[in-house]
Each structure stands twice: as structure tokens, then as C-alpha cells.
Amino acid sequence: MGAQQTGLLRKPWFQLTLALVVVAALVVAPLLLPIPVNQTLARIGVFAVAVLGLNVIMGYTGQVSLGQIFFLGLGAYVTAYGVNSGWNIVLVFVATVLICGVAGLVVALAAARLGGLAIAMVTIALPIIGVPLAKRLSEFTGGSQGTSARFTSAPDWSGLADDQWQYYLVLAIGGVTFLLVHNLVRGKYGRAFRIVKENEAVAGAMGISPYRYKVLAFTIASMVGGVSGFLYMVVVQYTSPETLAFHHSISLLASMVVGGAGSIIGSLLGGVYYVLVPNFTNEVAPTLTSLIQGAILLLVLFVLPGGIASLPRALRRWTRRSGSTSTPGSTSTPGSTPTPGSTPAPAPGAPSEKEVSP
């Protein structure tokens, strides 16, 4: 059953139809749903974009970044500053993305020389230093009292309510961001990012400079982070130093992995996780949120170490395995985890056996 489903999933016409249905549903939904739901959906969009940015640098390029929240925060501050200074909103958006991009570039030029954990430690410094810095630069940031910018009340011509308008803004901007990143990681650059993640020496031999591609990925991630900051202001309309506290970076990281590292759908699921789990735990027991959230995180990963996005793959493997007759086989030592991968032909064979070539 699982296999048939996924077979269907691969067909282009099916994918297209599915995509259209999803888009249509997303467009119509806010007109029907209650306000809090729309607000939640919009917030999911914000953090999905933030997770997406993290995925670019970490999920795809393998550079552990604990600084992604800094770019969300920076983006939010730039947006707030621009709006409060009365700039045109398009200009605000462009400035937000550019400033975050430039900041990311500068950081990356230095940080990308490091690898592995070292880069994690250097990037974690961004939010950690960012918080006191934001307080110190209070002329721009409003200091520890934060700053609010309200520019997303629905215009009269639209006939929409604020929550709907904000939702559509997030949908449009976030959707385009997702599409662009999706395109980027499919072809030339996606492959390059992945090999930089896996083996820098090989990347070099393929004409891919690990350093330059890390800088590139970091810059793109920062720009996407900037977009998420802009969207944060669309939805939250207020920012303070707490926005970029480093433990949010860690939550983003957790959301990315729970959603599925190196996966576009995973980013979206990561956003869902980021927003809904606290809502859920608040419903269950507000005094035990930390405990429950930790348990949920462990539980999800225990069941799906590859993140929620790996569910179809896991299902496929599971159905296949229960279909096969002999002992379920898998490596027993922790050392080797065979990744399932897609295997069209039933039996592997040596190349000398021509019968296996399709």
C-alpha cells in the first residue's frame, strides 16, 4: 500500500494536481477559519521560513549554526526601524533582506574558515552577544523595552481583516521564499552544498570551493533569516532583545531536525512544530511545558530519527519489510545504519549480470 502511494506520489501530473489543491486550500482557508487559527497559521509561516534558512546552512551545507535566530532578530529590528522611520514598505523589505545578507556575509567570511563544532561555537556568539548589543544600541532598538511597529493592518480596499491580511502577506512572501530555496537546492547548488557537508576534500576536487560555498550558504541563510524577521514583524509587530535569545536558536535547531534536516517539507513541518508544541503543552499543563516538550522531542526522534519528513520513507520501508518473508534483516551493530534509499529493482546484482539493467 505504502509503495503504491509513493509510486503515485512520483507521477508529475499527480504532484502538480496535489500542489494546486494545496495552494488553493491555503488561499481559501483564512476566509473560513477563526481568527486565532489564522494567527497561528501565519506564525507557523514565520518560523517555517526561519527553519528554512537554518536548513540552507545546516541541513544542506552541514555547518552547525546556532546563530540563525540572530538574523531573525536583526531582520525584525531593521523592519521595525524602517517602518518607524516611515520608509516605503517595499524598501523596508529590501533593506531587511540586504542588511541581513550583508551581516551574514561578514560573519561568514570569518566563520566559514572554521568547521564542525567550532563554527557552532562562533555562531552561537551571535545571539549571545546580540542581546546585550541590542540593549546597548537603544537608539535603534528601543533597548530592553523593545520596539513595536504596526504596519500590517489590512488596507480598506482589501476588505480583509487584519489576521487574514497578515496571513496572506506571510503566505505570499514565505511561499516565494520557499519556492526559491526549493529551486536552489534541487540542482547545481544543492548538490554542491551537500558535498561540502559530506566531504570538503571531494568538493574541492569537483571544483567546488568549500569556503566559498559555505559563505554563500551562510549568506543565503541570513537573507532567509531576514525574511523571517520581516514576517515576524508582520505577525508579532513587536520585537525586543528577547526575540534573539540564543535558546530560540536551539529551538529552531530542534525544529529543523524534528521536521527533517535537509528537506523543504521538513522546514515547513519544523515551523509547525515550533509553533504548535508550545500551544499544545500550554493546553495540557502550563506548569510542565518544559518536561512535556522535552519528552515530545525525544519521542518524535525516537520514532523517526530522520524527522517527520522521513515518515513516508519509514512507512515504505516498514511495509516492504513486513511484506518480505524471511527474518527482518538489518544491521545489528550501532555502527552501521543502512539508509534505505530508493531501490527500484528487487535484487541487486553484479554489473556483469546484464539482466538487472533496466
Binding site: S330, P338, G349
Partner: protein, 235 residues
């Protein structure tokens, strides 16, 4: 000593062994031949418990299928894995001591290490270097050396001559032969360099897509045309 019957194994959903049977007699040396992807490595890994398998694997009369690799090792089976099995962040010296982990005789360990270093002068030179700095061939020597340090009863060699210079390969095989004579260790070896393999094995089994399709003594096999063509290069 080792008796395998009807071994099957999967990687995830894919079955790669479809019934492998072979026997290694006490103090015997058996070779496994086969094309790339035939399942040679998988067979050895199944014996050491690194891959779960169905069928029967008996060692010295005991069923060892399903045991953990370290339990299998504790029974006296040492495995030289395919590719870089060395512990990269440990020095050559430390790698050898890890090999001797289950042994208690300090003096014997020291003597064996000295013996090995004589055998492989390269390792002598790089004795305190991290294994990851070694050349491909040197790492292979180290892997063989580490298995040797365990003083096993049965040695599983997966392409032990891979990447070794011809003279070194011969040294290794000479050493293995000496080891066998001295200690009576039995061995099961996978070797693409069949010419080299036949200098040491008594019998061999040919695998094709996960099945044993042929076995016989070295002499018999060497005499068969298809074997010569595919594995020996003799015309």
C-alpha cells in the same frame, strides 16, 4: 571449525545473501571468490555479527548467529574489515593495543608488537603517528596487524591485500602463512587477487549474487576455465 549453512541476509528491504554455505575446517584456509557486489563482504560481516542474518553459523560447534560482534571476537574470531577499518584518531601503537584488548599477557603483547613492526617497517617508522595520517597501504597493514594482535583462532580477511604493494602483499601473505603454521589459526579470506589467494587457501567457494555456486580445492578450481577467466587471468 566454522560451518555456515544457508545463510541469508538483508540490507533494509534488499536481500543480498540468498543462501551461502561453506565450511572452514580446523586449521584450514578457505577463500571466497566473487565479482563486485556478490556478497563476499556481507558474508564475513554476517559471521562477525555486524549484519543480522538468517541461516546457521556454527563456530566450534556452537551457534554464533545473532551474537554481537564483540562476543564473536571474544570467541576468537578476528575480522580485518574491508576499507579503512583503522581507528584514525589513535596512534599506530594504540591501534595495536586495541587489537590486543582481550589479551592479558603483557609480555606476549609486547613481543607480538615487535614482531609486527619487523614485518611492517612502515609501521615502525610511523609508530606514534595517528592512524589517519598513514597511507592507504599502511592503514591496511595496520588493520592486518591489529587482527593479528588478537591472536585469534579464526581470522576473517576481507581483501587484506587491497592497496598493498606487490612485495608487501607477499610479505603479508607470508606472514599469514607463518602464523598459520605456528599457531594453527584457521582463516576465511576474501581476495580479489586470486593468484595470491591460491598460494594460501586449501579450498575456495565462489559466490554469485549472494549464492555459493561452486566450491572445491584450489587445484580443482584453478583448473576450471571459467574460474581462470574471471579471477585468475590465465588464458
Amino acid at each position: 571449525m566454522l560451518e555456515i549453512t544457508d545463510l541469508t541476509a538483508h540490507y533494509g528491504p534488499v536481500q543480498v545473501l540468498h543462501g551461502v554455505s561453506l565450511t572452514v575446517p580446523e586449521q584450514g584456509a578457505v577463500g571466497i571468490l566473487g565479482a563486485n557486489g556478490a556478497g563476499k563482504t556481507t558474508t564475513l560481516r554476517a559471521i562477525s555479527g555486524a549484519v543480522r542474518a538468517a541461516g546457521s553459523i556454527r563456530f566450534e560447534g556452537r551457534d554464533i548467529r545473532g551474537r554481537k560482534p564483540h562476543e564473536v571476537a571474544a570467541l576468537g574470531i578476528a575480522h580485518v574489515p574491508e576499507g579503512r577499518g583503522t581507528l584514525g584518531n589513535l596512534t599506530v601503537k594504540e591501534n595495536l593495543h586495541v587489537g590486543a584488548y582481550l589479551r592479558k599477557d603483557r609480555a606476549g603483547i609486547q613481543a607480538d608488537i615487535e614482531h609486527l613492526l619487523q614485518l611492517f617497517p612502515n609501521l615502525q617508522e610511523r609508530y606514534t603517528a595517528n592512524a589517519s595520517a598513514l597511507s592507504g597501504g599502511e592503514q591496511q597493514m595496520l588493520a592486518v596487524g591489529r587482527a593479528y594482535m588478537a591472536r585469534p583462532k579464526l581470522l576473517l580477511l576481507d581483501e587484506a591485500s587491497l592497496g598493498l604493494a606487490p612485495s608487501t602483499a607477499k610479505t603479508v601473505y607470508d606472514a599469514i602463512r607463518v602464523l598459520r603454521e605456528e599457531t594453527g589459526v584457521a582463516m576465511l579470506l576474501v581476495e580479489q587477487n586470486a593468484n595470491l589467494a591460491f598460494t594460501i587457501v586449501d579450498t575456495a567457494t565462489v559466490l554469485e549474487t549472494g549464492r555459493s555456486v561452486l566450491s572445491g580445492t584450489s587445484a580443482e578450481l584453478k583448473g576450471r576455465d571459467e574460474i581462470r577467466k574471471a579471477y585468475l587471468g590465465g588464458s
